[in-house]
Every structure is written in C-alpha cells, then in structure tokens.
Subunit: 325 residues, 2 copies
C-alpha cells in the first residue's frame, strides 16, 4: 500500500524547502504526493488562507508535509493541526553541527499539548473596556498527552520527563494539567518531575542539560520551545511533528523568510528533518535514521547555505543529502 | 516628613538580605521602618501566609521592602502587589560585574502588567473533565501601563519600547492590549514596535541588544523576564519594583534559597538594589544613584559571597557597600 502524503508548501521559502523534502522522501521510499495550497498567496487569490480542499486533504492523508505561511500563519496552522487530529506537537531542540549555538549542550524534546489552553480561543469583548479569553484544560487531553509522553520516553534514550506549568497561579487549570500528567506517569512507572514555567526559562539558560523531555500546555510549549531554539542557534534547522491518532503533520519550525524567498538559497535542512520525522511516524524507522544521518553529515562537511556561512543553493544541499543517503 | 517603610522579610534568606537592605537605607536617609510578617513561617504559626495587619501596613506605608516567601509565595506576593495598588512590575535584567553571564550585553527593563491577564484568576471546575480560566484584559489597565512606559522611556536613556504579546492567537485580549499600548505610544510621540512573545524568546537569546524596554502582559512578563535573568546569569542579583499610584513594593527577584538559609552567607545585592529602586521611587534620586554605584563597585572588587565564588558573609558585603557610599 502506497501512503498518501499531502504536501502544502505555503508561502515564501516554504515553496522552496518543501519540494526539497519531497525529493528526499522520493529517494528513500514510494509515496503518493498530493499538492495543496494554503497561506497568504492563496488568500490573495481566493479570499481564503486555508481552502476547504486543503483541510480535507490533510484530514484524510496518511501524513502531511507543511512548509510555512506568512501573515496568515495562525489561520493556517491552527486549523491544520486540528484537521490531522493532532494532540501533541513534538519539538526537538538540539544544536546541529555547524551552527553557532549559545548552549550547544542543549538537547531537549518539547511535547506540547496541541488542542487547548488559550488556543481553544473562546474570547469575548464584554465591554468597551474589557475583553476575556477562556482558557480550557481537560483531563482527557492532558491524559492523552501524558500517555504519549510515557511511550515517548519508554521507547527512547530518556526514561523520565519534566512537566512545565504555572500551577502556582493557574491552580485549577494548570493544577489539573499537572496532576493528570504526573498521575499518568506514576501509574505507568515513568519518572516525572516538575518545574514552574518561569523557573524553567531561567534554568534552561543556566543549565540546559538538566532537561531532556519537557511536557507542557500549549502556550507554554510555544514559548519555551522557541526559547530553546534560541539556545541552539535559532529556528533555522529545527523540525517539528504534530501527531494525531489517525494522521499527522510535519513542519519546519522556521517561517517564510521573506528576505531571501524566491532566490533558491533557503536552507532545506529543517524541512528535510521534518520529513525524517514523518518517515519515523509512518514506521520507516531505518529510512528516517538514514535521512537524519545524511543531513548531519552534510551539516558537518557538506555544502552550506548562507545562514550557515556558505554559498550553496537549496538544491546543492538537497542533492548532497540525497547523495549521502 | 519621615516616610514610613514597611519591611516584610518573609522566609529563608529573605530574613537575612532584607535587614541588610534596611541597613543601607539607614545609611543614606531617615525613614521609619515598620516590621511585618508574611510567608511560610507565619502560616505555620497562625494559619495565614499573609496576615491582615501585613496587608494593611503595605497598603498604607509609603513604600514596602519585601524579601522572599517559600511555598506560600503566590499567596503572599499577589495580594501584596494588590495591597500597594501596583499596576506595573519593573524588572531590569542586566549583567552586573563579576557575574558569569551567558549574554553579558543584555540590558533590558521589563514593564510587566501587574493586575490582570491570567493572574486575575477566575477559574472554574466545570466538570470532572474540564476546567477553565478567564483571562482578563482591559483597555484601562493597558493604558495605565502604556503611560507609565512612555514616561519611563522619555525620562531615560531609551526613547522607545517594544510590546511583546501573542495577539496572533489571543486576538481579542492581547489584540486589545497591543492596540491600546501602541495607541498610547503613538499619541505621546514615543516610538514603539512589537514582537510576538514566542519570537521574543528566540531573538533575545540570539541578539539581546535588539531590546531595551519591553512592555508585556502579566504572565508574558513573568516568563520573559525570567528568561532574560537566565541570560544575565540568574536571578541572584536582580531587583524589582511593583509600582502603584499611591505606594509601591520592592523585592529581589530571587527566592528563599533554602539550601543556604540561616547561614548568614546569602548575597544581599538584589535586596540592596531593590532598596535603591525604592529610594529612586521616593524621590531620593541622588541617594539611589549612590547606592547603585557602591553596589557596582563592591561587585567589581569588593568582598563576594559564595554564589559569586567568594567566601564573604552577608554582613561583609553589606558593610562594604555602606563603606563605599
Ligand atoms: C503561528 C502560530 C499560531 C504558531 C503557534 O503559536 O502555535 C507558531 O508560533 C508555532 O509555534 O507554530
Ligand atoms: C510567586 C509567583 C506568583 C510570582 C509570579 O508569578 O508573579 C513570581 O514568579 C514572580 O515573578 O514574582
């Protein structure tokens, strides 16, 4: 059976790095790729940043590869995460070779709750002066995330995780999150400790090696993973995975990079590493590892794009990765 | 007229560094100090972490010097901020001499909204599965903060500020915050730009010099200022001010440090710098500058406590600061 992979390049360098990732996937397996549109460009044309057809495709495909969207990012990515039924956003932050990292010893995977928190987004304009937002936390979503976290650390080199939260202030909502996640860990015999999200922000700078796998609510995961990205040298090389029960969506953490878009010089590494996460998710463990190793090898001594101080094109780097598979 | 200063040492090293700060204040001016209790210790004794008398004292004093509280920190500091009618938490994050900082070039003042956001704290347990928190943003609080920010940058070496928010997701609430703050800046002819709080977390690591004064909602200010603390070497030396229209409360950013509490070796610098902010707030500009300079001079070549690699006691450092006033 050939798996169907939805390909949504989006805007800016998304349209350059996503095809590069597809080339790499074609080099290691047989997939049926189906292209779809989303983002600023399609909004300009049709009035809709996320056409119904794209949503449906992501919802039905075995996996989706997404590039980046510009101004419309939130209108695209939040519904797309929902389309694939994603309950966790997996964000590894580690320093890759050849990157000037503030804290090269950082090696953290964030498991970010992907459906609720402030992203559930019930907002009201109650008066001329007052607006509110209803932040939502359920035991069921926290439990599903915690179960994923337990499986993640059981199957990996790590054997424990840290829950980051702000339950000293958000006692009922983050309190529920914290208790549920720690409870599941306890039941499954997985070690879990906890840290306040503000304290995490200090400690991860001072001593990143303290943390391996960090489980957090939606917005905390957004901010703290971007912080870790700063410690490993930026968003440029980081992949991510939005995992659901049925399907999943993979995306580089970087944006559309309007300053270099259209020049064919964008670094395809984050998109290719996202494709490696896709392979792993679909069960192509060996192929995933091969892509990872080829990318690492190219980062070490292969052609480099301008962001890493080189002069290579997107295509140069992509070909080098494929050559080393 | 002698100003009344409420002194609330709290727990742990709060009881050691707060008297040190009082000694310094006594060396530069005449104040009436009134002691009060708050924190874990008084809760153990009386059942209340924040006795009514302490709340009333903070509400009526000209200024309050607070140390630190342990487990009960949230039960103490959130109501105390309310007691002094504080609408802004001023948190400077800069690398002081003698501290091993990850990004010594960091020099940012956070102006954190101090009354609402998730701290307004309307939480409900709606079912066995579901809890909610109502996040509150008003134009009036945002406006007051923005006016403070404008005065702050007008009277200072900076002449612009950055608003950090997450209005791409919290469109109504952070949208209101963002628009109000940028609107006030525009009216007053102050330059203001903006950044998404997740992007800030990355960029402040990569290039801290991009930011001078950062205005943010309550929780964003909590997390992002702690992040900046990580870049300048930790919370150890950082002071802070909770400013209200009538009175104000000053506190070191560090906690109770249970590991070294009771040994007389805690670093009093953050508490003394908080006292310098207090002096400035009460109009003792020259005295405030003298304290600041004496502290900086001691950090450069005076006695050091263990956290800075020395062997001096709290009292040694305090005496050295007083000697150099
Ligand atoms: C674009 C935005 C809605 C999104 C988020 O907040 O989740 C982005 O910051 C991310 O982390 O993928
Ligand atoms: C103790 C806690 C409630 C407090 C806060 O979140 O404001 C602390 O983290 C701080 O920043 O002063």
């Amino acid at each position: 059976m050939t798996e169907e992979i939805a390909v949504i390049p989006g805007d800016g360098i998304g349209t350059e790095v996503t095809p590069a990732a597809v080339e790499v996937l074609e080099a290691v397996g047989e997939f049926e790729f189906v292209q779809a549109e989303a983002g600023d460009a399609v909004k300009d044309e049709t009035g809709e940043a996320l056409p119904e057809a794209t949503y449906e495709l992501a919802a039905s495909a075995d996996a989706t590869l997404f590039g980046a969207a510009g101004e419309t990012a939130a209108d695209v990515i939040i519904p797309l995460r929902e389309a694939v039924g994603s309950f966790v956003n997996v964000r590894p932050a580690r320093a890759y070779p050849g990157v000037d990292a503030l804290r090269p010893e950082t090696d953290i995977v964030f498991l970010r709750e992907n459906t609720e928190g402030v992203y559930a987004g019930h907002e009201s304009r109650l008066s001329d002066d007052l607006s509110t937002l209803t932040r939502v936390v359920t035991s069921s979503a926290s439990e599903r995330l915690a179960e994923f976290a337990c499986e993640f650390v059981e199957g990996d080199e790590y054997d424990e995780f840290t829950v980051a939260h702000k339950a000293n202030v958000m006692r009922e909502t983050d309190g529920r999150f914290r208790e549920t996640v720690l409870g599941v860990a306890d039941e499954r015999g997985v070690e879990a400790d906890e840290v306040l999200m503000d304290a995490f922000a200090t400690h991860v700078c001072l001593d990143p090696e303290k943390f391996d796998v960090v489980v957090c609510p939606n917005l905390a995961g957004d901010v703290l993973s971007d912080l870790a990205a700063g410690l490993v040298g930026g968003l440029g090389l980081l992949p991510s995975a939005n995992i659901g029960t049925e399907n999943a969506l993979f995306e580089p953490v970087h944006g559309t990079a309007p300053d270099i878009a259209g020049e064919g010089v964008a670094n395809p590494t984050a998109a290719i590493l996202s494709a490696a996460m896709l392979l792993d998710h679909l069960g192509y463990t060996e192929e995933s590892a091969r892509v990872d190793e080829a990318v690492t090898s190219v980062l070490e001594d292969g052609p480099r794009t301008a962001d890493l101080g080189g002069e290579a094109s997107t295509e140069d780097v992509t070909s080098a990765v494929i050559d080393r598979l």
